[in-house]
């Protein structure tokens, strides 16, 4: 293999598993260390710059960082990254004075944003502080999109959302037009906007056309419409017996909300086996804790109507059958249909994109799947000054992806308005900082703890089930957050090797607790991987290869389970290994 090019920021960025997995590349390890040292405000601001909604995301983020966390490869559970983010938000001082301000003088460019979800709000933040004039249109009475209308208050209290949206709208240069449905995008294109961003989400819930659907209409609801109804106060209660159909996160929010609106016997019915449900493991756990059984392998057959009233549903039992490619089919077991009695049904069986306000003649083209044709990097549509982001771009996803789309769209819009090539994108910022203090002393806390993942305390079940506005989770206390923060392995503190200093004494290879370091004859990657002390079979993790050493060998480090403990650097007599903090910050339109 060729020596690793560690000058390319991509290499060390990838070593920071959580940050690399985060769509917005939030500097996770850095803020976790700040939390450990009780610098909550700084930790909050690092998050705010990167992901715009730390208080929101510290509660309801989909957390792609956690399954990626290095800790899962040596310990049972990942660092509770998301819950630590909330600690920063809960314990921060007032940050108003730390937020940027939009310049008094605008740059003369006007941008229209359709929808006020996380994607549009991010575009608004990134561009307003550069002097752009922003106008946001949303058909709801308040800003926030699905963060407000879908994510229930017992997971995300309204005031948290309001505060963080307020941070954006108060920056200046942002005009909000709520209760304003854009019925034809051509109206906006006809005006003098320099760019239009479409962040309208994926607002349509899938219906279920089965016998009895029409007759039972009054007590059969499309889940996302029903959840929005609860938030906007149109829906205040539900029948005692409720069936929720679907296995995604929407189903989990529906069933838990139903439990709070009078549902006593609430069941979730899924077609697939439970193990294949789309909902996050922790959301399923939370539902089960609220006495909601999950009934797997049942496909709906009909709504049963008696005397013009819905009384229950019939289901066919199925079983999963896997073909030789591992693809699953659900086959009927041939048993008698199963009847579940109910008063109401919530359908949470999928969400779809819909663009009724975009006419064919607008020039905006769509794929066969009904999604806009986009440049995947710039998010530009087939109309030069129209961009898409969030759920509207590639289908329903989550908040943090919407935020990242917002950042990318803002970069594109800024480049467009400045007459630049949209593919000439700004580079990330990288900062390096040596960590050595003394013989055994490091600036970072190099000690690797064995503590298990800490549990977040919750409000008593009886109390939360009584009131849908009571947040279930209480968040970590400061001492618990410290224990949890110490579980972080500091993957951003990189092991950096200088082959010109190495005397090949083997001390580093001998001490390394996880056998990352090898001194062997060079070869091609596949061969090297098999020849390491412990073969490097995790292909998603890179090998760090040095130049040729005096004995003709090379140093090969498998990044896979490096604990970033610094033992190698401590045992190296010549400082050929150094522990260097690598701070990586993604590019944004405004380099905050």
């Amino acid at each position: 293999m060729k020596p690793t090019d560690i000058k390319n920021p991509h290499y060390f960025h990838k070593v920071i598993d959580c940050q690399y997995a985060c769509p917005a590349h939030t500097p996770v390890a850095e803020y976790i260390r700040l939390i450990l040292h009780k610098h909550y405000t700084e930790a909050y601001m690092i998050n705010w710059v990167s992901n715009v909604f730390p208080g929101v995301l510290g509660r309801v983020c989909d957390r792609p960082c956690e399954p990626a966390c290095r800790r899962t490869r040596v310990d049972e559970e990942p660092v509770a990254i998301c819950r630590l983010k909330r600690v920063a938000a809960d314990n921060r001082d007032d940050v108003l004075g730390l937020l940027p301000k939009a310049p008094a003088q605008t740059n003369g460019k006007k941008i229209a944003l359709i929808g006020a979800g996380p994607a549009s709000l991010t575009v608004a933040r990134d561009l307003s502080i550069l002097g752009y004039e922003i106008e946001i249109f949303d058909d709801q009475t308040k800003l926030g999109g699905f963060m407000r209308s879908q994510v229930p208050s017992f997971r995300l209290p309204e005031e948290i959302l309001n505060t963080e949206i307020g941070y954006i709208t108060n920056l200046g240069n942002i005009t909000t037009r709520t209760s304003h449905y854009v019925s034809d995008i051509r109206d906006l294109l006809a005006q003098d906007y320099d760019a239009v961003f479409v962040g309208c989400g994926a607002p349509r819930g899938r219906d279920l056309d089965l016998p009895g659907r029409a007759a039972g209409d009054k007590t059969i609801h499309v889940g996302i419409e029903w959840l929005a109804g609860v938030v906007w106060g149109h829906v205040e209660k539900i029948g005692k017996k409720v069936l929720v159909l679907g296995g995604g996160n929407t189903a989990m929010d529906c069933c838990r909300t139903a439990r709070r609106l009078g549902g006593e016997d609430v069941k979730v019915i899924v077609r697939s086996p439970r193990a294949e449900m789309k909902a996050s493991e922790w959301e399923i756990e939370d539902a089960v804790k609220e006495d909601i059984p999950i009934i797997e392998n049942h496909t709906p057959r009909e709504f049963v109507i008696e005397d013009g009233r819905l009384v229950g549903m019939l289901f066919d039992k199925v079983q999963p059958v896997y073909d030789e490619n591992g693809r699953r089919r659900l086959e009927p077991t041939g048993e008698e249909p199963v009847f579940f009695a109910c008063d109401e049904v919530l359908l949470a069986i999928g969400q779809q994109n819909a663009f009724p306000f975009i006419d064919e003649n607008s020039g905006i083209e769509f794929t066969e799947r009904g999604l806009p044709v986009l440049d995947p990097v710039t998010l530009q549509s087939t109309v030069e000054r129209v961009f898409f982001g969030g759920d509207a771009a590639f289908g329903p996803a989550n908040i943090i992806i919407a935020v990242e789309h917002g950042h990318q769209a803002a970069i594109s819009i800024d480049l467009l308005c400045r007459g630049k090539n949209l593919h000439d994108r700004p580079h990330p910022q990288v900062k390096l900082a040596g960590q050595k203090l003394g013989f055994h002393d490091w600036i970072y806390d190099s000690h690797v703890t064995e503590d298990d993942r800490q549990q977040v305390p919750t409000v008593a079940k009886a109390k939360t089930l009584r009131d849908r506005l009571v947040e279930v989770e209480l968040g970590f206390s400061q001492p618990t957050s410290k224990t949890e923060a110490k579980r972080c392995l500091n993957c951003d503190v990189q092991t950096v090797f200088d082959y010109t200093l190495c005397i090949e004494c083997d001390a580093c290879a001998d001490i390394c607790p996880t056998n990352c370091i090898n001194f062997i004859e060079n070869d091609e990657e596949a061969v090297l991987r098999e020849q390491l002390i412990v073969p490097a079979r995790n292909q998603s993790q890179d090998l760090y290869v040095s130049d040729t050493l005096p004995t003709g060998r090379v140093m090969v480090k498998d990044e896979n389970v490096c604990l970033h403990c610094g033992m190698c650097a401590e045992r190296c007599p010549t400082s050929a290994w150094e522990m260097i903090k690598f701070f990586y910050k993604s590019a944004q339109a405004s380099q905050l």
């Binding site: 064995e450 004494c505 001490i511 401590e570 045992r571």
Partner: protein, 350 residues
């Protein structure tokens, strides 16, 4: 601060035949200087015992005084151990071995511990052919007491301060061969590929197995002018033979072309395959072995690998015809047969 090594290990770390990973063969964290050759030898010892699937509690580790003699604290944490007096490890090893011959005895010593204060004890433990592995971590100096020249420092070579060594050096391997050791080898801490099989073969050998391991002292004796430094050893290392060590239970999978490999079968059935090279001396011949060491020394080379092998030598228990059962497993009556037996014994000696 890291005075503790993290507890996590590689989740895919291999297990040996008795279900242990390397972790079960580790000891406490080393307090030696960063980069010390002794730490590498420790690692080679761990690897050897792990790969040979020897239960750690079947091992007794013994040492004297010195940085080298401290190392038993850093490996095989779950074995028996005795850190004795400076230069006196052989006596303790002899006593322990006499009491229980079923255990594996591993002596770890330094060049000061063995070639200076302990030379007398060393000479006699070799002569007795005690069944043990004796490793000298040879750094040419007294590391623990801040780097004074030891008896293995080569005459004329320069230490850290630049003064040439004024006395003749002792070659412990040559001495061991002269005194009748059946297994004599030399390794280098910086070459585990060679060192690990040497240690494994030593474990398999019955009788006194001696390995002199050149082990640079990074702090006091690693100047390029010292013959015990990383750079000097790497530039002057020569091997007697390339070889394969095939432990008893392992199948021979490599094909050897006829006449190129000389097999030496050890007492426990393990085999050392020595690959013949031109102009190479025969390590099973004592005269030849000593000549090769002398020749290398004359050419300012460091000869490593197997220097002398005689797998059929008689060990101390054989010579003394001592009882096979460990003393702690004998009942009191057998151990103290009484006056009558004593009288009979005395009578037989008259």
């Amino acid at each position: 601060m890291s005075y503790n090594r993290p507890a996590f290990r590689h989740p895919e770390a291999q297990k040996n035949d008795i279900g242990y990973t390397r972790k079960q063969y580790e000891g406490g964290i080393s307090t030696l200087c960063a980069g010390c050759g002794h730490d590498s030898i420790v690692s080679a010892i761990i690897t050897s015992f792990f790969e040979m699937s020897i239960p750690p509690h079947h091992v007794v580790k013994l040492s004297g005084i010195g940085c080298s003699s401290k190392t038993p604290a850093y490996f095989l944490g779950r074995s028996h151990g005795f850190n004795s007096v400076h230069g006196r490890m052989p006596s303790v090893a002899s006593g322990a071995n006499m009491a229980n011959r079923e255990l594996i005895y591993l002596g770890v010593s330094g060049d000061g511990d063995t070639a200076s204060i302990g030379l007398g004890q060393f000479a006699h433990v070799v002569r007795r052919n005690l069944n043990m592995i004796y490793i000298v971590m040879n750094n040419g100096c007294y590391g623990l007491t801040k780097g004074q020249d030891s008896a293995t420092a080569d005459k004329g070579s320069k230490t850290r301060k630049g003064a040439p060594v004024s006395f003749e050096s002792i070659d412990l391997c040559e001495l061991a061969i002269q005194l009748g050791a059946g297994f004599v080898a030399r390794g280098f801490s910086g070459d585990k590929k060679q060192l690990v099989p040497l240690i494994k073969a030593a474990i398999s050998h019955r009788g006194f197995a001696f390995i002199d391991v050149i082990s640079p002292c990074v702090t006091f004796n690693n100047a390029p002018t010292s013959t015990k430094s990383y750079s000097w050893v790497r530039d002057h290392m020569e091997v007697t033979n390339t070889f394969d060590f095939i432990p008893l239970r392992q199948e021979i999978t490599t094909e050897y072309p006829d006449n190129t490999a000389v097999p030496v079968t050890l007492h426990d059935g393990s085999i050392i395959k020595l690959f013949k090279q031109e102009e190479q001396h025969i390590v099973t011949d004592r005269k030849d072995a000593i000549a090769a060491i002398e020749e290398a020394r004359y050419n300012e080379l460091l000869l490593t690998g197997f220097l002398y092998l005689n797998p059929d030598s008689e060990e101390f228990h054989d010579i003394n015809k001592t009882v096979a059962t460990p003393l702690n497993q004998l009942d009191e009556k057998t151990l103290c047969p009484g006056n009558k037996a004593l009288a009979a014994l005395n009578e037989s000696l008259r």
